[in-house]
């Protein structure tokens, strides 16, 4: 049990170290990253299984008792997030085998991926706010280099914005941690949860809570702090974009959900109202930005922002059902969004462009690819029987039960606009006749070798299968999400496990 909690951090750590030692052997690097990511996924799955069966698990690193040492905790929500990280890591490593050029490979692409996964898993598993800051920095550092690796002009322009905004967020996070420590005298989240409830200064608590909200909000790309995302996410190779879209903003959302369900529970409901309003604005501005775009990846980048709004809606409504919906939505959106990015990469590989206007007629040439696009696209829009339908259904039912009609209306309208912009991609890329048949026709399409096709399509097929399976058999994941939500709402079990855990 204890080993399971540490493994999701240790496997990528040793993976990255070994990969650095194999700096010159690119083939060995590829094999080892595959093995490492597969190992991470297996460890994550067994952690989730153990946590689901036996309840929350905690371990004190170094044997220091709870409020003083660093605690690693896994409840169902964080274990589920670690599984998602493991899955995305494996999928992206497989996809990278066919798409990442030799230059990036020989300058540490694979070690950086492992460092990123280590940071993400650490952020999901830690039970200490300052430790969370450290993991954030680990994953940010890896993501900075991954974003800039290759040194293309667009990448440089995107990287300077991404780096600046994320460093501001980190500085705010650090300041908030400092004030909170000065106020309460502890940074262990379980200890904080107890002491903040008994705190007599609601004004100061609210101020710190909002400082955390801004810091995590920048990282999660919520309205009005999201502008760095569509300016940078489309610049690196698609494999990196897919990984970022699947994991990085979600770490911000995870931190928001964790802190605002456990630490900053505002009885008066003011923060919930604020979060709900921001959730609505995030959804609407994201999707409106997407509707105006004609670049495949930029359009999808704006949809990342829009989908973050749904996750925040669950946090804003703050009932057990809404949080369960948000957790289920998290699983759904990580898979759907990343699958769409990976499809855009395949389209770029076939036609050499991301410009929707220059694409066309792919349905005739590659009908199976068209279907692989359609499954995550319709799922993102929320069509039954795919995973997106049940995710949105759960959120909207919870919103109606809590009588938050405005946010429910916004969520439904944004679904329609999402469907519209997915249909736009469908018609532009797959259905319409190509604008210049001589240059972009099927005749001069590269014939990909079988190994490359497998590496390109296997992750997308796996994601599409899971999306359909999540929709057709929603029950097991939904009950898991409900269990996770109950643990979030009622933090007593978490606090008890952490404060009583021995080594």
């Amino acid at each position: 049990m204890n080993v399971l909690l540490v493994l999701p951090i240790l496997i990528p750590f040793f993976g990255a170290t070994a990969l650095l030692l194999l700096w010159r052997w690119r083939i060995a690097q590829r094999c080892l990253s595959l093995a490492g990511s597969a190992g991470l996924l297996l460890a994550a799955l067994s952690l989730l299984q153990a946590v689901y069966a036996n309840g929350i698990a905690a371990v004190q690193i170094g044997g220091w008792p709870a409020p003083y040492g660093i605690t690693l905790v896994a409840d169902v929500f964080s274990a589920l997030m670690v599984v998602l990280a493991g899955f995305m890591g494996l999928a992206v490593v497989i996809y990278s085998l066919a798409t990442i050029d030799a230059g990036r490979e020989s300058f540490g692409y694979y070690p950086l991926l492992q460092v990123l996964l280590m940071g993400v898993c650490g952020a999901f598993l830690t039970g200490d706010l300052f430790n969370l800051y450290v993991w954030f920095e680990v994953l940010l550092m890896a993501s900075f280099v991954l974003l800039a690796l290759g040194g293309e002009r667009a990448q440089m322009e995107g990287a300077i914005k991404y780096v600046t905004l994320n460093l501001i967020a980190s500085a705010l996070f650090l300041a908030a941690v400092g004030i909170l420590y000065g106020m309460v005298g502890t940074l262990n989240m379980a200890d904080l949860a107890v002491k903040l409830r008994a705190n007599s200064e609601p004004g100061l608590t609210l101020a710190v809570a909002l400082l955390f909200f801004v810091a995590f909000g920048i990282k999660a790309a919520v309205f009005p702090l999201f502008f760095w995302l569509p300016a940078s996410y489309h610049t690196p190779p698609v494999a990196i974009t897919a990984l970022f879209s699947g994991l990085l903003t979600k770490v911000g959302v995870y931190a928001l959900i964790r802190t605002f369900t456990m630490l900053f529970v505002d009885e008066s409901g003011r923060t919930q109202t604020l979060i709900t309003a921001i959730a609505g604005l995030t959804m609407v501005t994201g999707v409106l930005g997407a509707v105006a775009q004609y670049d495949f990846r930029r359009l999808l980048s704006f949809h990342i922002v829009s989908q973050i709004g749904y996750l925040l809606m669950g946090l804003g409504v703050m009932t057990s059902a809404a949080l369960a919906g948000a957790i289920y939505f998290m699983v759904h959106v990580v898979l759907s969004k990343s699958a769409l990015f990976l499809v855009s990469g395949v389209v770029h590989r076939l036609r050499g462009t991301y410009d929707l206007k220059a694409l066309g007629a792919l349905y005739a040439a590659r009908p199976w690819l068209a279907i692989l696009f359609l499954i995550p696209a319709l799922s993102l829009a929320g069509m039954p029987p795919l995973s997106g339908f049940f995710a949105k259904l759960a959120l909207i039912q919870a919103g109606l039960a809590a009588e938050r009609y405005i946010i429910v209306g916004a969520a439904l309208a944004v679904s329609l606009l999402t469907l519209f912009s997915m249909i736009k991609i469908w018609t532009e890329v797959f259905w319409k006749s190509p604008p210049q048949p001589a240059t972009h026709g099927a005749a001069n399409e590269p014939r990909l070798p079988i190994g490359e096709t497998t590496a390109l399509l296997a992750p997308i097929i796996a994601m599409a299968v899971i999306i359909v399976a999540l929709g057709v058999g929603a029950e097991p994941v939904m009950s898991m999400a409900q269990k996770g939500a109950e643990q979030l709402i009622d933090s007593r079990a978490y606090v008890q496990t952490v404060l009583e855990a021995r080594r």
Binding site: R153, M156, A159, L167, I168, I179, Y181
Partner: protein, 115 residues
């Protein structure tokens, strides 16, 4: 003492934010450095200042005699300084690479990925 530190922190934040609002990338990075230093000082001050009582445990005692300075904020700041140093080094290299590949250090000329 708290007052002087609070004033310093405020000035550091103000200067950092002002520099970040300028168009030059070099000023942006100096601003980032000031901002992270301001955050470090903020931890130091907010956690409470105790002067002249180092948290040393006497031989044979289980805990230091009261009052003693809280050592944890300094450990936090030390970690944050190391992280800030690494991040700053990366940001400076990035700025240099941006200048190399775009030929400008004016942020207003770096709008190609925005639209």
């Amino acid at each position: 003492m708290e007052f002087v530190l609070a004033l310093t922190i405020g000035v550091l934040y103000a200067c950092g934010l002002y520099l970040m609002l300028r168009r030059s990338i070099v000023k942006l990075i100096i601003g980032l450095a000031l901002l992270s230093n301001a955050a470090n000082l903020l931890i130091f001050t907010a956690a409470g200042l105790t002067r002249g009582y180092p948290p040393l445990v006497a031989l044979g005692a289980a805990r230091p005699a009261e009052p003693f300075a809280d050592p944890l904020p300094q450990a936090l700041i030390l970690t944050a300084i190391v992280i800030g140093f690494g991040v700053l080094a990366f940001a400076m290299v990035l700025a240099y690479r941006v200048y190399q590949s775009t030929g400008t250090d004016d942020l207003d000329n770096l709008k190609a990925t925005d639209t």
